[in-house]
C-alpha cells in the first residue's frame, strides 16, 4: 500500500473532519439534482462533520458559511459541490484560507458542468451522480495536505510574437508602461495585414496613414526591442521566467548598429536602395500579392519599419553587385548566418494573425484558372494608390477597367462542404461593402454586384455604412454563387447563383470577380502555439482561457492572446484585445512575483530503487539521480517540475509523491467511487 502522507509531512494529521457545501446555483443545479437528497446522503459519509447548502455558494454569504463553519466545527477539509473547479476553485480556496485552513485543503465536486447541465432530463441519474461525486471528493479531501505555493520573481520584460496592428499595439502599451518588450516578427517589416489595406471601414481612413505613425512609434520606442525576420525557436520555463530562443534569420544586410558592432564606422543600411537597380534577379513581391516585381534584395514597401533591405536567399545568385553598389556603407554581408538569441521574459503575448484560405480549393469559382477572378487582398493592392497599378483597378487579363464587378461574399466561410470553413470570417461583409464603395467612387458608371448570404454589419456605425453603400447604388443579390465560367475570348465571367429572395436561378456576365475569401490561422501560428503550450480550437484558432471571462488569457499562465490569431477580428477588435492582453500581461510584471501551484513531485526515498526510469520520462529534465547515504536515489529540482505527474504515473516502486495528486489520494477517490470508501 502506498504511503498515505507525503515525505515532508512530519506528524500524522489529525482525524479528518470535512465540511460539505452543496450549491443550488439558482436552478442551474437544483433544477436537475435533488439537493436535499444529496445533503441527507452527504451526512452519512465517513469523515463528514458538517453539511450545508446554499443558493449561491460563490456569493459572499455562501463563502461566509464556509469560513464560519471551519472555525466553529474545527474542520480539516472543505468540499464544495458546485460548478467546475476550473471556474471557482480559486474562489473557494480563498474562502478556505479565510476560515483558517490551508487553501489546498479544498476539493471541488463538479455537479454543474459535468452533471446537472448534461443530465437535465434525468433527475434520478443526476442525483445519484452528485452523491458519488461528493463521496469521491470527501475521500480526497480527507487525505489532502497543507501545501505552500512558491513565489518566484517575475522578469521585468515581456515578449510579443507577431507585429501586425495587434502585436504593435500590445508592444506599445507594454513599453509605455515601462516594460522592456521584445517584439518578434517573422517578416522583414512590422505592420501585418493592415499595411496591405487601402482604406478601412467604416470610416474609410487610409490604412497606411493611420498605421505608419504607429509603426514609427514602435520603431523608435526605447523600451521595444524589435526583431524582424525572426521566429521563436524554443521556449523553456514558466510564467515569470520564460527563456525564449529566437532565430534571427540572416537578412544579408546590417543595420547601422550591427555595422558599428562589427567595427564598420558610419556604415550599415541607410535604406538608400542603391543595391536594387544593380540586382539582376527579379521575383514577384509577396506584399503586392505577387502583382509587382521585386529584386532579390528588397523592401516590401517604402514605409517599412525598420527601413532595412533584406536578401531573399532562395533567389539571390550571390553575384555581389549589390555589395559593390552599397560601397563604403558596407551594409551587405552575403555570408551572413542565422543567429540564435536567448531572452528572458516574464510574460508573452501571441499576436500572429491570420492568412487567407487558399480559395483555389473551391474549384467552382476558378481562382488561379480564370485571370479576372481575384481575391479581396489582391483587390486591396489594385485599388491602393501605392499599389502595383497606382490605384487604377484593372483586369489582370487585358489591363482594361472593369465596369461590372461581382463580389462573392462568404467565399469559403460558413461552408460545411468540408472544403471551406464552417465559421464566419467576420470582416469580409464589411470590407466588401467598402470595396463596393471604392468602385463607385473611383470608376464612374461601374456597378458592384454583391452576392451575399446575409450582411453582417454588427459593429459601431457598421449598419449605417451598409445603408450608405446601398444608397450609393451597389447591387445586392442574396444567394451563394454556385459556379463561375469564363468566356475564353473576352475573359469575361459568368456568375451563376440562385437569387433566394426572388426564388429563381440567375446568370450574370461581369468583367471581374472578387472573392471575399475566408481567413484561417497560419501553419506558423500552429507551430508557435505548441512551443508555448497553448491550445487551439477545432478550426485551429488559438484558444482563450475562457470565451467570456478571460478572452485574452490562455491556459498557460503568463501567455496571452491578441488580434486575429484568436479568431477573425477586424482592426478595432484586434486593437481592443491587444490593449486587454497588454494590460493582463503587465500585471504579473508590475506585481514583481507570481505564485506557482505547488503541484511538484517529491521522492519517497525509502521506496526509491534508484532505477532512473523516471529521469528520462520527465519532459522538463527536472529529475536526476544522486548519491545519498550510500544509495542512489532520485532527486527533484522543484523549480523545473511543472507537476504533470508523468514520472509519478510510471515509477514501478511508487516512490514518487505528486503533491495534491498523490497516489493514495487518487486511489482513495477510486475506492470511494466503486466500493464506498472502506478498504
Amino acid at each position: 500500500m502506498a504511503e498515505a502522507v507525503s515525505p515532508t509531512t512530519s506528524e500524522k494529521s489529525k482525524a479528518p473532519r470535512i465540511g460539505v457545501y452543496i450549491c443550488h446555483c439558482g436552478t442551474n443545479i437544483a433544477g436537475s439534482v435533488d439537493i436535499s437528497a444529496v445533503e441527507e446522503y452527504a451526512r452519512t459519509l465517513p469523515n463528514v462533520a458538517h453539511v450545508d447548502n446554499y443558493q449561491y455558494m460563490c456569493s459572499t454569504p455562501g463563502q461566509g458559511k464556509i469560513e464560519e463553519s471551519i472555525k466553529e466545527k474545527g474542520l480539516t477539509g472543505v468540499v464544495v459541490a458546485a460548478c467546475s473547479p476550473r471556474l471557482h476553485e480559486p474562489t473557494f480556496r480563498t474562502a478556505t484560507k479565510e476560515g483558517g485552513l490551508n487553501p489546498f485543503r479544498f476539493e471541488m465536486a463538479n455537479i454543474r458542468e459535468q452533471n446537472s447541465w448534461v443530465h437535465m432530463h434525468d433527475r434520478e441519474g443526476a442525483t445519484e451522480k452528485a452523491k458519488d461525486a461528493i463521496r469521491i471528493a470527501v475521500a480526497k479531501a480527507s487525505l489532502l495536505e497543507d501545501l505552500y505555493p512558491k513565489s518566484v520573481p517575475v522578469e521585468h520584460a515581456a515578449m510579443v510574437v507577431g507585429a501586425g496592428v495587434a502585436g504593435m499595439q500590445a508592444a506599445l502599451d507594454l513599453a509605455n508602461a515601462g516594460i522592456k518588450t521584445y517584439l518578434i516578427e517573422k517578416a522583414p517589416t512590422i505592420g501585418g495585414r493592415m499595411s496591405q489595406l487601402d482604406k478601412t471601414f467604416p470610416t474609410l481612413d487610409c490604412s497606411q496613414c493611420i498605421l505608419t505613425p504607429k509603426m514609427v512609434d514602435v520603431g523608435r520606442n526605447e523600451n521595444i526591442e524589435l526583431m524582424v525576420n525572426s521566429e521563436v525557436e524554443e521556449v523553456e520555463g514558466y510564467i515569470g521566467n520564460f527563456d525564449v530562443t529566437i532565430r534571427r534569420k540572416a537578412s544579408g544586410v546590417l543595420s547601422p548598429k550591427e555595422a558599428e558592432a562589427r567595427g564598420i564606422v558610419g556604415g550599415g543600411c541607410t535604406g538608400c536602395g542603391d543595391c536594387v537597380p544593380v540586382c539582376p534577379v527579379t521575383k514577384p513581391n509577396p506584399f503586392e500579392m505577387g502583382m509587382a516585381p521585386r529584386k532579390a534584395i528588397y523592401i516590401y514597401h517604402p514605409q517599412v519599419v525598420p527601413l532595412l533591405y533584406t536578401i531573399d536567399w532562395d533567389s539571390c545568385v550571390k553575384c555581389g553587385l549589390c555589395v559593390e553598389a552599397c560601397g563604403e556603407k558596407k551594409a551587405i554581408d552575403l555570408e551572413m548566418q542565422d543567429e540564435l538569441v536567448k531572452v528572458k521574459v516574464g510574460t508573452v503575448i501571441l499576436a500572429t494573425g491570420y492568412e487567407l484560405f487558399p480559395i483555389e480549393n473551391k474549384e467552382e469559382w476558378g481562382y488561379k484558372r480564370y485571370e479576372n477572378v481575384i481575391t479581396s487582398l489582391e483587390f486591396e493592392r489594385l485599388i491602393c494608390a501605392s499599389g502595383p497599378t497606382g490605384g487604377h483597378l484593372v483586369r489582370p487579363s487585358d489591363g482594361t477597367t472593369p465596369m461590372r464587378i461581382a463580389f462573392v461574399l462568404c467565399a469559403g466561410s460558413r461552408d460545411n462542404t468540408g472544403i471551406g470553413k464552417p465559421y464566419c470570417s467576420r470582416f469580409c461583409c464589411m470590407y466588401s461593402l467598402k470595396h463596393a464603395h471604392q468602385i463607385i467612387e473611383k470608376i464612374p458608371g461601374a456597378v458592384p454586384y454583391l452576392f451575399y448570404m446575409d450582411i453582417r454589419s454588427f459593429g459601431k456605425a457598421y449598419e449605417e455604412f451598409y445603408y450608405r453603400i446601398q444608397d450609393e447604388g451597389a447591387k445586392f443579390i442574396r444567394g451563394r454563387v454556385s459556379n463561375i465560367q469564363e468566356d475564353p475570348k473576352t475573359k469575361n465571367l459568368y456568375v451563376y447563383a440562385e437569387d433566394t429572395l426572388l426564388g429563381r436561378p440567375m446568370e450574370l456576365e461581369v468583367d471581374m470577380v472578387v472573392l471575399a475569401a475566408a481567413v484561417q490561422p497560419t501553419d506558423l501560428t500552429n507551430k508557435t502555439r505548441k512551443l508555448f503550450g497553448v491550445s487551439c480550437s477545432q478550426d485551429g484558432w488559438l484558444l482563450e482561457a475562457h470565451p467570456k471571462l478571460n478572452p485574452c488569457g490562455t491556459t498557460t499562465a503568463g501567455v496571452y492572446l491578441a488580434g486575429a490569431c484568436q479568431g477573425p477580428k477586424d482592426i478595432p477588435d484586434a486593437v481592443a484585445q491587444a490593449e486587454g492582453a497588454a494590460s493582463a500581461a503587465s500585471i504579473p510584471i508590475h506585481k514583481g512575483e507570481v505564485e506557482l501551484e505547488p503541484y511538484y513531485a517529491m521522492c519517497i526515498e525509502e521506496k526509491c530503487a534508484g532505477c532512473g526510469m523516471c529521469v528520462n520520462l520527465c519532459p522538463y529534465s527536472a529529475l536526476s539521480l544522486v548519491e545519498k547515504d550510500g544509495r542512489t536515489v532520485m532527486q527533484v529540482t522543484e523549480a523545473k517540475c511543472k507537476g504533470c505527474g508523468t514520472c509519478g504515473g510510471f515509477c514501478p516502486g511508487g516512490a514518487i509523491w505528486m503533491n495534491h495528486f498523490a497516489t493514495p489520494q487518487i486511489l482513495a477517490q477510486i475506492d470511494a467511487f466503486l466500493i464506498g470508501g472502506e478498504q
Binding site: 467546475s84 476550473r86 459535468q114 448534461v118 491550445s535 503541484y599 508523468t646 509519478g648 477510486i670 466500493i675
Partner: protein, 149 residues
Amino acid sequence: MAENPEGWQPRILAIICNWCSYAGADLAGGARIQYPPDVRAIRVMCTGRVDPLFIMKAFTDGADSVLVSGCHFGDCHYLEGNYKAAKRMFLVKSLLKNIGLDDRRLRMTFVSASEGAKWAKVIEDVVNVTRELGPSPFNREFGELKELV
C-alpha cells in the same frame, strides 16, 4: 447483445486531464449537450499521471469500464504526457486480457478543450460498449467472479 442483469447500471471511471478533456467536458456542460450519467470523472493534471495501478485498482474494485482521456497528441500541456500514457495503455490492456477482462473495457480518448460535442459522443460510446459487454466479471454485485474480489 446478451441480456444484462436487472438493476445493473454501468459503473464507469474516467480519469481525465485538467487542460483538455476536463475543459472539453465543461464545455459540453456549458453547451447543455446531454449524455448518459453513468461516468464518474476524476481530474488529474495530465494523463501522464495515470499509473497502471489506478486502472487495475478500478477494475479490481469492480468498475465495468475505465476511460482515460487527455489532449490530442502534440497538444499535451506538458508536451508529451499523453504519449507516455498511451503507451502505458497498451501494457494495461494486455494485463487486462491476462486476467480475463475484455480489453474494450479500457479506452483512451483525446478530447480537446474545444470539443464539447466530442466529449458527449465519447461518453455515449463508452456507455454503449459497456452495456454491450455487460457487468465486469469483478463487479461487486453483478459479476461472475464477485466472490474472488
